[in-house]
Symmetry: C2
Subunit: 155 residues, 2 copies
DNA sequence: TTATGTGCAAACTGTTTGCGCGAAG
DNA sequence: CTTCGCGCAAACAGTTTGCACATAA
């Protein structure tokens, strides 16, 4: 916490430029927002925060920026059942936009918890072997009940 | 395939009555639709089919019926990333509304494939042990790429 | 300059809600 | 008869799209 991460932003912007995409205030703002948080942000939340550094950015623009950044592998997203998609910056420098963690969501308190990708290796392996299906393990949140809510329920 | 399943419907209706819920034409129609298909149906598709046996049933009513039936454990649903929730009848007679299979969805062709729940046991075990999280494995579809689309891509 | 993003409004999908009427029990 | 479910319209959230204007390159 205190480690400067400005170059992550710079790298992302350079990646944009390299691919012939324009570096705009809106895109910069979106990247800065994503860089500056550990939370899982929805497009709407990103729009609100981005509007602080780049007044006037619209939700629409944020969606379009996220789409573009997603296509370039700079950003990746996770579908969350029953609510908005969450977005995060992929660590630049890796070839694949593969995040290093997956998400589980508590259907009781709606909290989203990061889990280590390694927990999913057996699932990946089984599905690939059984039906040739390649699971994209960070692309949707797994649902269930978190420890806290389990405890609360059993009371 | 040819096995009469009328009693599955009857059982569901009886379950309704037993719990003090009213047995209405709309609810009957929804149950019949779910009983009469092997497909994964969305609320909208259920509404369309239900309207054939019970003219005038509205989407709204179908949603409410599905909610009620879900609370009673007669129906369960699976969230599908980026599109509508799919519903299916849980086999009556079991205590838990736990379905016997989970779903994976191909992000390329959007096909939904049933997978055996056993593939998910290691994941369940790991998460329970590591963070005390109980995964509800049939409550959200896992995303990825199916064998066909993988083959098509690598061509 | 000129293609590409942006802002805005509006459409669209999936789902929920408020309300008075109608039917199940 | 009385409560509960229904139909309808309308609201709602999340996301996408069409179009004219602004701007990065």
């Amino acid at each position: 916490m205190g480690t400067p991460t400005a170059d992550r932003v710079t790298q992302s912007l350079e990646a944009l430029a390299t691919r012939g995409e324009r570096v705009t205030a809106a895109r910069r703002a979106v990247i800065e927002v994503l860089d500056g948080t550990t939370d899982h942000l929805t497009a709407d939340e990103i729009a609100v925060r981005a509007a602080q550094s780049a007044p006037g950015v619209h939700r629409t623009t944020v969606y379009r920026a996220l789409t573009t950044l997603g296509e370039l592998g700079i950003v990746s997203h996770t579908h969350v059942a029953g609510s908005a998609t969450i977005y995060h910056l992929t660590t630049p420098g890796q070839d694949h936009p593969t995040a290093d963690h997956a998400h589980v969501q508590c259907t009781s308190c709606n909290r989203i918890i990061d889990i280590d990708e390694s927990a999913l290796v057996p699932l990946e392996r089984t599905l690939r072997k059984d039906i040739g299906f390649r699971v994209d393990v960070h692309h949707a949140a797994f649902l269930g009940t978190c420890a806290d809510c389990l405890a609360a329920t059993s009371d």
